[in-house]
């Protein structure tokens, strides 16, 4: 069964039709590459799933229940996690503090609750181990490599039982070796049964890790097919418009 199902979703800002009648479904444990040129509507689409925008038309279903989001926090409560392009990390905090940012564990009661450092370090350490990342909970994010920073941002999505993780250009600004690390992290999420939507410009990454590719052009979905049945050449053609639709 599909984890997330979008039916005839449209979004317009005034006269501009950013997303036009898009339907798609994403299954658990599936990595879907969402591709398209700048302005194709992919970030608008993702922002609707993340609760930043409300669709002008159409419906969204999560696990068969209709999903109506007013704020990004609600998306997270429903098990939709986002890894932002800039990762949204605080350099002056430890990796554990970043993982738990906004969701700190505390002990004590009433107004006398204090941060539970022990439990947060331990839980963060467990998540990094599950991700097979060498990031350590007490390390400051300031001194981390791009791959480690990605691991911290991805570890956030594993705090609660995420159903679907949206990743915005996770490999856009890191070195080649670190890209391998990030793709590895994506596979870790998939193996845990989490659906991953990978928004990316980088063809090799999508073909390395995704099960399916969805291509958008000018607000419309122009392709949705298994990676095995497609090719980088075909996807490039779809993105640019050389191939109209498949």
């Amino acid at each position: 069964m599909a984890v997330l199902e979008l039916t005839n979703i449209s979004k317009h800002f005034g006269a501009i039709q950013a997303v036009n009648d898009v339907s798609l479904s994403i299954e658990a444990g599936q990595v879907v590459g969402l591709m398209g040129d700048n302005g194709a509507g992919k970030s608008t689409l993702v922002k609707m799933i993340a609760g930043n925008f409300r669709p002008s038309h159409g419906t969204m279903h999560l696990d068969g229940l209709e999903l109506i989001l007013h704020r990004p926090v609600e998306a997270r409560q429903h098990g939709i996690e986002i890894v932002h392009q800039d990762l949204a990390l605080c350099n002056n905090l430890t990796s554990a503090a970043n993982v738990f940012l906004g969701r700190e564990l505390r002990h004590g009661f009433g107004p006398f609750r204090v941060l539970d450092y022990r439990r947060m370090y331990r839980r963060a350490g467990e998540i990094f181990r599950e991700l097979k990342s060498e990031t350590r909970p007490r390390d400051l994010v300031k001194q981390m490599s791009g791959g480690q920073r990605q691991a911290v941002a991805i570890a956030r999505t594993m705090l609660s039982e995420a159903k679907i993780v949206l990743m915005d250009e996770p490999t856009a600004s890191i070195s080649v070796r670190q890209v391998t690390e990030v793709l590895h992290l994506i596979r870790q999420l998939r193996d845990r049964g989490i659906a991953v939507v990978l928004i990316s410009h980088r063809m090799p990454d999508v073909f390395a890790v995704a099960d399916r590719v969805i291509v958008m052009r000018r607000g419309r979905k122009v392709a949705d097919k298994q990676i095995a049945a497609s090719s980088p050449e075909e996807v490039t053609g779809l993105i640019t418009g050389a191939i109209e639709r498949v």
Partner: protein, 335 residues
Amino acid sequence: MAITTDTFDEAIERKQHSWLATILGSQTFWVLIAVILASVFLSFATDSFATTKNLYNITRNVTFVAIIALGMTVVIITGGIDLSVGSVLCLCSMVLAVVMHAGHSIEVGIAASMGTALLIGAFNGILIAYLNFPPFVVTLGMLSIARSLAMVASNNTVVFQFGPDHDKLLALGGGAWFLGIANPVLYMVVLALMTGFVLRWTRFGRYVFAIGDNEHAATLTGVPVRKIKVAVYMISALSAGIAGIIQTGWLGAVTTNIGAGMELQVIAAAVIGGADLAGGVGTAFGAIVGAALIEVIRNSLGLLGINAFWQGAFIGGAIVLAVLFDRIRNFQQSE
């Protein structure tokens, strides 16, 4: 890449730097060393420094700047600034004085004074957090407004009679209830411990640091950025109000020019103590140490018979020097 032979527990316990490296790398530590060295030097170089009376004076003088520097440090950690503290100190002192002069008890006076501080802090904070005013502009405006209100409240007179609880107020600020330590010093120590605790151990403190480093990230991760910002300006104003109450008790009189220019001393203390005006860095202990260094410099120049006109040059030099150490350290790290 890191060593892969760590067991799970080792990985959790492992820190990037030993505690010794952390201390040696902190600006606050070196400023503390400077304060201690200066004090030792002055004890030998002058007969008057290491006397009970002078130490009593120094420790007490430190407190007014130090208490406000605690609040200022919290604001600076969020990446903000509060220029209104000197005027808020004046207004809160005046509210206390006028209310008590009118015959109300000390409790009512203090409540009115602190209420005024919180109101001003909330006003600053709401403009900054919800209407996106630059903190510099809002608090610069408040610097002018608060002092003017103090003049209005007192009709620009000196208040030195505080009604039925006159003696209580003077004991509160001028007494020494515990081991001969001046009362203001005790308040400072308690407030510093509270500030340090809040910054280190509460979720609020964690958010203060997060906002200062990356406000956008804090917003995206669900931190209530606006509420926290309002709260830090309320804390800053409250610290100025508390300092004002204590100072009133110590001086025994309130004029409309007390606290003039104090905001710059307070900011200097915070910065010397290691707070970074770019946000994200600062400690309560640093605020105290920074204030102490300024006071020791001021006191020593007097005792050594150096013309008082040199004070500004030495304090300014201390600001630049303290931050210079930090720059050098960052420079080494980035290489």
